[in-house]
Every structure is written in C-alpha cells, then in structure tokens.
Amino acid sequence: MDKNTVPALSRPAADKEPGRMRLFFKKLGQQRALAVMSVPFLIWLFVFKYLPLWGWSIAFQDYKPARKFMEQTWIGFEHFKFLFGDDRFLRVLRNTLAMSSINLFFGFVTAITLALLLNEIRNIAFKRVVQTVSYLPHFISWVVAASIIQTTLSPDGTINQLLVGLGFLDRGNEILFLGIPEYFWTIFGASSVWKDIGWNTIVYLAAMTTIDPTQYEAAEIDGANRFKKMIYVTLPGIKSVVIVLLIMNIGYLLESGFEPQYLLGNGMNVDYSENIDIFVLKYGIAQSNFSLSIAAGMFKTVVSFILLFMANNAAKRMGEARLY
C-alpha cells in the first residue's frame, strides 16, 4: 500500500528534488527483504487499527443499519448533546472517574509500600518466594478472579465467616457485599490491588537497584536506622520514576477497565458499577444503538488522547522516561 501511494502523492515534490526521491526508492529496492518483512504488518495495522476510525462518522449520523453510507442523515453533535443531558451517562461518567481515581491512588500507594518493604528483605530466597506469589493474581484472568472474589464475598464466604467468627456480625445477618451498591467501589479497589500489587512493584524494585549504595552508608554514619533509611534514602531514590508513572497514569483517567466491573457488576449494584465501557457495550451491542454508543466511546477516546498526549509531554519535559 505504501509503495503505491507515496509516488502518486509526492510527484510534484519529486520533480523538485529528484535526487532524494530516487535515493529513497533505490534504498528501498536494496532493502526489499526488510520491506517484505515489515510492509504486510503496516497493512495489517492500517486495516485493524486505523480503518475502524471511519466508524466514528456514525456518531454524527442518525444511523440506520439498512442504509448505505451516503443515504444516512447527518445530525451533527445531537448524540453528544443527548449524552451530556442524560442522567445515566453522567452517572456512568462519575463511576468511571471515581473508579479510575481509586485505582490510581491505591494502586500507587500499595505498590510503592510493598516495593519498599520487599527491598528491606535480606533473605533472597524468601524475597523470591514472596515476589513469585505476589505476581500470581496478575496472570489469572478476571473471570477466574471474579469467580474467586464472588465466592469470598458471598454470604457463606470467607469474609462473612471471618466477621461472624470475630463477633462483628451475628450468624444469620451475613452481608451480601456485592448487593450493596455503595460497597462496589471499595470492592473494586480492593480487588484491583489484590490482583496487581505484586506486578506493579517490578518497576519500583528495578528503580531501587539504581540507587547509589554510598547514600545508604552516609545515612548509616549519620545514625539512621533501617526504617529511616527506607524513608529518607530509598523513597527519594525512586521519586522520579514514581512521578513519571503518576503523570502517565493520569492519561488513563477515563480507562477504568471493563472486565472487573462487568464481571462483578449485577442488577443491584449497577448504579455504582456501570462505567463508560459497559455503557458503550449495553447501548451498542444489546440495544444496537450504534450512534449513541459510538459517541460515548469516541468521547472517551478523544479525552484520553488529549490527556495522554499532555501527560507524555509533561513527562518528556521532565527529562525522564516516557511512554515510548
């Protein structure tokens, strides 16, 4: 595809700079093998990642599946206007922002804490075992995780047994945790932490290995104990990595995930569990209201794009690692 379009589009330029264009094609000819090994994937990328953007046009139409593209009625921003006047969409937006903020905050705090503590374990074998175990939930599918979480939180599950056993609850008064809407965000946050706390420590532990050991020696001479060294040497040592990751994660503020909310959500907690992704799925697939669904999805992607772009630039300006 690239070989065909480039000469057609850039012929005037080629007339002005015949040397450069000829050089380009001469080199490409020499690098035939590399082109054969990469251009098919460029075509794949165009078809699977860029072509779907065409579908965004549906958000500006009063889409009727039976009609051809040229026969659709164009209605401008009507669907977007409807979305921002719709109570359900505003609630969905609130849930999305709340859950991604909870995830962002607790994800960071718990992972950094665990990394700091793991770094203090001197027994390498024990440390390895803890790390291996803590990575486990990350590799398990959300379906399996949701199945386990649901069992644990059910009226005859571990949490209720524990509460009864400790005397906080009377037998027979067991709580149906997933049936109480207000609890959903907490359950979601705790589940996400359980699943990814170990995995998220990898980056911080890697950053800790780059801290200059003389800093610890200096702190020791100043009389710092292990806890103080952890707070005043290790933590500042990973500060730059933490800030960069934090900025970049703000770019994902509208990406609160889909699977945990969908799998743990039910009719009772829907007011708190439904986020944009589920809204898109329900309107789009279940009700076949493509226009409204795409408008909601498009809103999410465009805002995410802007946020990510800004976040990445901010991280770049700080002279640190960035998204790529």
């Binding site: 803590s134 386990i148 992704d277």
Partner: protein
C-alpha cells in the same frame, strides 16, 4: 536486588542492629507472610472445594483441605462434551496465537531495529500512534463483521497479531545486541532473511519467552471476543467463556452459589453427582493451573522485559 547484595558484602555484624531494626524486620516478615496468605488462600480454598464431594461442599466449612476427597468433579468436566471442547479451543487459540504473535513481532521488530531501513521511522510512528487511540468497541465490531470474521476461529488470532508493547521490548533487546554480530553476518554474505532466522531469532529467545508468556496468558484468559463475536457458535466457545457464563448465571440469581439451571439440566442423568458450586470451583482450577505452572519459570525474563518497557522505554 543489587542493593541487597551490596549490603550483604559489607558483612555488618548482626549484633549492631538496634531493637527498632529488629522489630521492623519481624513486622516486615509477618506482613509478607500475611500478604502471601491473602493471595494464596482463595486459590487453596477453591482447590479444596474442587477436590471435595459436591454434596458435602454445600454444607460449607471447607477451608484448606477437602473433607471427602473425590475426583468426581474433574471426571465430570472431562466427560462433559461442551467443557471439554471449550478447553480444546482454548488450547488451540493459545498455541496458534502465541506462535503467530511471537514470530510476527520478532520479524517486524528486527526490521525496525535496523537503523538504515528507510521505512523505519514511518512504521514505528504508525504503530506508536495506536497507543493513544483506538476505534472503540462498536467500530471494531463493525469492521470484524464486515470482514466476515464473525463466527470464525481467526477472529481470535488476526486482530491481535502485533502488540506495540511487545514490539518495543523486542526491538530494544535487538538494539542492545552487540553490533558486531550482525556486521559479521553481513560480511559472511548473509542476507536479511538469513540474519533474522539464523542469528536474530536464536539470540532473542529470552525476550521472545517474555512475549510468548504475555501473549499466551492473554489468549488463554480471553473471553470477551468469544462473547462478542462467537457467542452463538458453541463449537468456538472457550473455557474462560464457559466459566464466565456460569459466573453470570449465579450473579443474576442471588449472588450466592445456588443451584443454577444449566448445570442441573446437564447433570440430569447422574443426579446430584456435581453441583454448580463444585463445577465452578473445578473449572476455576482448570482455567488457572496452566498459568500457575508456567509463569514462575519465566519470572527472570518477564521482570527484565517489564523493566525495559516500563522504565527505559
């Protein structure tokens, strides 16, 4: 880990550690043990239920060990045609998807690691741009539908051939290989295909192992594409999707693991041999065991891969 090694080398006499330090270390070890219990207990508990007599499990009180040992639940899963076939499809998509992804990502990453390749910049930017946006659920669905991939096995493989993250970690691994290896291959007259197949592929095995793990786990764990594209075609269902359906069923009823119609109907003949609770536990184990068996052995590799992708980029 290096800091730990440095500290060890100093051979600091342990007597010098203060009471505060010792308290901190004890608390730290206790915390780590608690973390491991919280992580592992749910799995052990599900394993115990899956190995326990189904009728007995209803009474509750199964914690770490089964009360009445039995393999009946696993037997049922093996004999139940739907679940057995779904497991087969899961294995198939995991194997094919992983091989295709690893091979294609490595090939593309090699071309993008060649500094002199004229399309290098253009292709790299085109791929990285897709990290910032995607068409979204419905446009992707419409594309797949219009391509005629709905109701086909290939809908599991084709859309995910190359992931940008995988591409980046393989590329930076190749770029960190000694330049002289590729140079000497060139001098020996090896073309780009030869260089890739006989030099790059064998040398990148550590990073390809990481990509294989990520891709294999992704394929094995997928259920949403089954739900979206192939939910009406039972012959293309996967294990995770079957588990998801059971989960959704118990979700919409009471939220507890009460008997649900599907299993009851399925067990009809062999009355009460299994219950939805025991089948769900058994499927949960079957769905997670392959992963539990594989990932610890690749830990060294994926930790390195995450460091490359996460910190250095």
């Amino acid at each position: 880990m290096e800091t730990a090694a440095v500290h060890k080398k100093k051979r600091k006499p342990p007597i010098s550690s203060s009471t505060g330090d010792r308290l901190f270390v004890i608390c730290n070890y206790c915390f780590m043990i608690a973390l491991m219990i919280v992580t592992l207990y749910p799995f052990v508990n599900v394993l115990a239920v899956s190995l326990n007599n189904a009728q007995d499990s209803i009474k509750g009180g199964i914690y770490l060990l089964p009360r009445e040992w039995t393999l009946a639940n696993y037997n049922y899963i093996l004999r139940e045609a739907t679940i057995f076939h779904a497991t087969f499809i899961s294995v198939l998509r995991t194997v094919i998807g992983t091989v295709v992804t690893v091979f294609c990502s490595a090939m593309l990453a090699y071309t993008l690691s060649r500094q002199d390749y004229v399309l290098r910049k253009f292709i790299t930017v085109a791929f990285i741009m897709t990290m910032y946006f995607n068409g979204g659920l419905i446009p992707n669905y419409l594309l797949i539908r219009d391509m005629g991939l709905v109701g086909s096995f290939w809908v599991y493989i084709l859309p995910g051939i190359i992931g940008v993250f995988n591409l980046i970690i393989i590329r930076s691994f190749i770029e960190n290989l000694p330049e002289s290896i590729i140079e000497s291959a060139k001098i020996d007259g090896a073309g780009d295909y030869r260089t890739f197949f006989s030099i790059i592929l064998p040398l990148t095995v550590p990073v390809l192992a990481t990509v294989a793990l990520f891709s294999g786990v992704f394929q094995w764990n997928s259920w949403f594409d089954v739900f979206l594209y192939n939910s009406s075609d039972a012959s293309l269902s996967t294990l995770q999707y079957e588990l998801q359906k059971i989960l959704q069923n118990s979700n919409t009823t009471t939220g507890t693991s009460s008997l649900d119609g599907m299993i009851q109907g399925a067990t009809g003949g062999q009355q009460n041999a299994v219950t939805p609770m025991s089948v769900r536990a058994t499927m949960t184990i079957v769905a997670s065991v392959p992963i539990i068996m594989v990932y610890p052995f690749l830990q060294k590799y994926f930790v390195k891969g995450m460091m490359v992708g996460g910190v250095k980029g």
